[in-house]
C-alpha cells in the first residue's frame, strides 16, 4: 500500500535569458493505492500524470509532501535506504521500443535482474533460467521463441510483454503503467491490457494505470478508483465506474465528451458537453484552474480555487463550485 499526501513538484523550464519560467507539475496531490488495488490517473498531456507515476515509482523527486510505503514514511529515510521500497514498484514505460536495450537479447535482458535476485536469495544459476522461462510464459509468450531474439525481431505487443516480464523479475507489489499501450497496434492493445488485468488478479499486484484514454482505464480497473488530473491538481476522484457514468466536474465531462462516438453502435450522450480547447496554459493561477475553459464558470470561479469536496456519494469527490451530474458518455444506439 502506498499513500501520498500533498505531493508537489515544480519544474524550471530553461529558455528565457531571465531565468525562465516554472511549471507546477503537481499542486498538492493526495492519493492512496491499496494492496492489490487499481488506481487510474487520467488527464491530458501536461496534467502531471506522468510525473506522478514517476514519483510513485521512485524515479523522480518531489518538492514537498509525503509518500508512505507500507507504513514507512519516505521522508524519514535517506535516499539510499528508500531504494528497496521503490524497487517493489516497477514502471512499465510507454515506449516498448526504447524500454528494451537493442543490443541485448531477451535472455540477457531478463537474466541480469534475475541473477542479482538469485544472489540475494542464494538461489542457483539454474533457477535464473527457469524463472526467465516461467515469467515469459506468465506474460503469454513462448520462451523458446523469444529468449534468443533481439528486441527488433519482436512486435510492439510482444516487446511490451517482455517489458512486463522484466518488471516481474523483482516480484513487485505494484506496477505503474504509463500509457503502456499507446504505441502498440490497435488490434494488439487489448491483449496487453488484459494481461495487466490478469496479473493483478493472479499475482495480487496493485496497478497504477496512467492514460489519457479513459476507456482503457475502465477496462483495466473498473473495480478500482479513478483520479482526474488537471494542471497538477486532482479535480475529481471516485470509483472508476461511478466517475465515468456520473461525472460531476465539468473537466471530466469535457474529457468524456471528447471521446469519439462509435456511430452505428452508439449515440452521443444526452448531455454531451461541447469541449472547449486549451486557450493558453500560461494564464494566471488565481481561482479555479479550469475556469477559463469551463462552460459553466461564474465570477466566483475566477476568484477562488475550489477544494476537493465530497458529493452526494461519500466516495466521490470533486473540486468544483458548480458540480453537477451529467450523463455525457455515449449510449447504445437503438436499432
Amino acid at each position: 500500500m502506498i499513500t501520498g499526501t500533498g505531493v508537489t513538484k515544480t519544474y524550471k523550464q530553461r529558455g528565457d535569458v531571465l531565468g525562465g519560467r516554472t511549471v507546477q507539475a503537481l499542486r498538492g496531490v493526495d492519493f492512496t493505492v491499496r494492496k492489490g488495488g487499481a488506481v487510474s490517473f487520467i488527464g491530458e498531456s501536461g496534467c502531471g500524470k506522468t510525473t506522478l507515476g514517476r514519483i510513485i515509482a521512485g524515479l523522480e523527486t518531489y518538492d514537498s509532501g509525503e509518500i508512505v510505503i507500507n507504513g514507512v514514511p519516505m521522508s524519514a529515510l535517506r535516499p539510499r535506504r528508500r531504494q528497496p521500497y521503490f524497487r517493489r514498484i516497477q514502471l512499465i514505460h510507454q515506449d516498448p521500443y526504447s524500454a528494451l536495450n537493442p543490443t541485448r537479447t531477451i535472455h540477457q535482458t531478463l537474466r541480469a535482474p534475475l541473477t542479482l535476485r538469485a544472489r540475494q536469495t542464494r538461489r542457483s544459476d539454474a533457477w535464473v533460467d527457469d524463472r526467465a522461462e516461467e515469467l515469459l510464459s506468465l506474460v503469454g509468450i513462448d520462451p523458446g521463441y523469444v529468449l534468443g531474439r533481439y528486441p527488433h525481431q519482436l512486435s510492439g505487443g510482444m516487446r511490451q510483454r517482455v517489458v512486463i516480464a522484466r518488471a516481474l523479475t523483482v516480484d513487485p507489489e505494484m506496477l505503474v503503467a504509463d500509457e503502456s499501450v499507446s504505441m502498440i497496434d490497435v488490434s494488439m492493445r487489448l491483449s496487453v491490457l488484459a494481461l495487466l488485468k490478469d496479473l493483478r488478479e493472479r499475482l495480487g499486484v496493485s496497478l497504477v494505470f496512467i492514460t489519457h484514454d479513459i476507456a482503457t482505464a475502465r477496462y483495466v480497473g473498473e473495480d478500482g478508483e479513478l483520479y482526474v488530473l488537471y494542471r497538477g491538481q486532482v479535480v475529481e476522484r471516485g470509483g472508476t465506474e461511478q466517475v465515468i457514468s456520473a461525472p460531476e466536474h465539468p473537466y471530466t465531462q469535457s474529457l468524456l465528451s471528447a471521446i469519439p462516438v462509435l456511430h452505428g453502435l452508439e449515440q452521443p450522450g444526452p448531455e454531451r458537453v461541447v469541449p472547449t480547447e486549451a486557450l493558453d496554459e500560461r494564464h494566471p493561477d488565481a481561482g479555479c484552474l479550469f475556469a477559463r475553459r469551463c462552460p459553466f464558470r461564474t465570477e466566483r470561479c475566477e476568484a477562488e480555487r475550489p477544494a476537493l469536496r465530497r458529493g452526494a456519494d461519500a466516495s466521490h469527490e470533486r473540486a468544483c463550485f458548480h458540480a453537477q451530474r451529467r450523463s455525457v458518455i455515449p449510449v447504445e444506439a437503438v436499432a
Binding site: E44, S45, S155, G157, M158, D185, V186, S187, M188, R189, L190, S191, L193, A194, H212, D213, I214, A215, T216, R218, Y219, E222, I244, S245, S254, L255, L256, S257, A258, I259, P260, V261, L262, H263, G264, L265, P275, T276, E277, A278, I329, P330, V331, E332, A333
Partner: protein, 374 residues
C-alpha cells in the same frame, strides 16, 4: 451540400484546367476511382507489395475514412492519390482517376505539382511538425501561393485569414506567428488551412489527430466535419483509430495487409461489421459502458511487408472463420448489404442465403401450384 460561394458553377466532374487562378467554388466535389492499384517496395528480399491490387471508389462529397493498422497500406494508398509514393516504393500497376484531373498516375512534373495544391490538399501525418520553423506562417502561405502562380497575394491572405477564423483562431495573429508559438492543435489547423487555401476540393488528412489531446482532437474532428460541409469537399481521412473514423466519416474503408477488406457506409460497417477483421477490430475497442468482459483481443499480429503471405487471404492467420479455400485463393471483393467485403466465408454465407431464399421461393411456388391444383 452547400458551398461557401454563391457562383458555384455546378458542372459535376467538369475538367478544370490546372494553373488557372479561380475563386472558391468554381469546382465541385470530385469523385475518386482507384482501380487495381499495386504499389511495391524494393527490399533486400525483392519487391514486396505494400498495396496488392486495391480498388476503391470514393463518392463525391463524402468523408471517407481509411482505417488500418501499421503496415496495412493506408498511408501508401493516400500518397498514391497524389502520385507521391517515394522510393523505394513504386506504383507498378493500376490507375487513380480523379474527376477534373484524369488519371493522376499519368500526370508528371509541373502538372502534378499544380494539381497537388489546387485540386488535392494534403494534410501531412505530422502536420504539427511540418511547418518551417524559421518562417512565419504567413510567409509560408505566400511561398505556397507563389509556387502555384496565385496572382493576388492579398486575396490569398484574406482567404487564409477567413479560413483560420472559421476554425476558431485569430487569423492575423497566426499568420504572424512562427511554428513554435503555436500549440499542436493550432498547427494542425494551419495544416488544414494550407491544404484548403488554394481551393482544393479533394482533401486528404493523414492521421490528423495523432499526438493531440482528447479535447483538441474532438475540436479538430468537428472542424473537419464543418469545413467539409461548408466548402463541399470530398474528404479522405486516413487513421489507425476506428473511433475517430466512426465519429466523423460517412463511409469507411477498412484496410489490412495492403487490401481493402471492407468498404461501406460507416454506420453499417461499425454497427454490423461483416469482415472478420472488422468484427475483431471493433470487438477489441474498450468501451465506456457495458460489460468490459465483452471486449475481446484479436489474436496474432498484423503482417509486415516481409511476412505477408504470397497467396490466399492475407487475414487467414488470425481469422476465426478460416477455411481451406483461404489458403490458396485471394477472396475477391463482393457486394453484401450495401458494402463490399473481401472474405470467402462472408461471400459463401451470402451465396448460401441466396440459394436458401431461392429454394424458399421455389418451395412456395410449388406449394402454391399444388394448392392451385387441389
Amino acid at each position: 451540400m452547400t458551398t461557401t460561394s454563391p457562383e458555384t458553377g455546378g458542372h459535376p466532374g467538369a475538367p478544370s484546367p490546372p494553373g488557372l487562378a479561380g475563386g472558391p467554388g468554381d469546382m465541385t466535389a470530385p469523385g475518386v476511382r482507384v482501380r487495381d492499384l499495386v504499389v511495391v517496395y524494393r527490399t533486400p528480399l525483392g519487391e514486396l507489395p505494400a498495396l496488392g491490387g486495391v480498388s476503391l471508389t470514393i463518392e463525391p462529397g463524402t468523408i471517407t475514412g481509411i482505417v488500418g493498422e501499421s503496415g496495412s497500406g493506408k498511408s501508401t494508398l493516400a500518397l498514391s492519390l497524389l502520385n507521391a509514393v517515394q522510393p523505394p516504393g513504386r506504383i507498378s500497376a493500376g490507375s487513380v482517376e480523379i474527376d477534373g484531373l484524369g488519371n493522376v498516375l499519368e500526370l508528371g512534373g509541373d502538372d502534378l505539382r499544380q494539381a497537388r495544391g489546387r485540386h488535392l490538399g494534403y494534410v501531412f501525418q505530422a502536420a504539427q511538425n511540418s511547418l518551417n520553423p524559421l518562417k512565419t506562417v504567413g510567409k509560408q502561405l505566400l511561398d505556397l501561393g507563389r509556387s502555384h502562380g496565385a496572382d493576388d497575394p492579398r486575396a490569398l491572405v484574406r482567404d487564409a485569414r477567413s479560413l483560420l477564423e472559421r476554425m476558431g483562431l485569430d487569423g492575423a495573429r497566426v499568420l504572424d506567428s512562427h511554428q513554435h508559438q503555436l500549440s499542436g492543435g493550432m498547427r494542425q489547423r494551419v495544416g488544414i488551412m494550407l491544404a484548403l487555401v488554394l481551393n482544393a476540393q479533394l482533401v486528404i488528412l493523414d492521421e490528423p489527430t495523432t499526438a493531440l489531446d482528447m479535447i483538441t482532437q474532438a475540436t479538430i474532428l468537428r472542424i473537419v466535419r464543418e469545413v467539409h460541409k461548408e466548402r463541399g469537399l470530398t474528404t479522405l481521412m486516413v487513421t489507425h483509430d476506428i473511433g475517430v473514423a466512426a465519429e466523423v466519416t460517412d463511409r469507411l474503408a477498412v484496410m489490412y495487409g495492403g487490401r481493402v477488406v471492407e468498404h461501406g457506409p460507416t454506420m453499417d460497417v461499425i454497427g454490423a461489421p461483416s469482415h472478420p477483421y472488422t468484427q475483431g477490430l471493433i470487438r477489441a475497442i474498450p468501451r465506456l459502458s457495458g460489460d468490459t468482459a465483452e471486449a475481446r483481443a484479436l489474436p496474432g499480429r498484423p503482417p509486415t511487408l516481409g511476412t505477408l503471405p504470397a497467396g490466399g487471404c492475407v487475414f487467414r492467420e488470425r481469422c476465426p472463420l478460416r477455411m481451406d479455400v483461404c489458403e490458396t485463393v485471394e477472396p475477391p471483393p463482393v457486394l453484401v448489404d450495401r458494402r463490399t467485403v473481401a472474405c470467402h466465408a462472408v461471400a459463401g454465407a451470402r451465396q448460401e442465403r441466396v440459394v436458401r431464399e431461392e429454394r424458399v421461393v421455389r418451395e412456395q411456388e410449388r406449394v402454391g401450384r399444388e394448392e392451385e391444383r387441389a
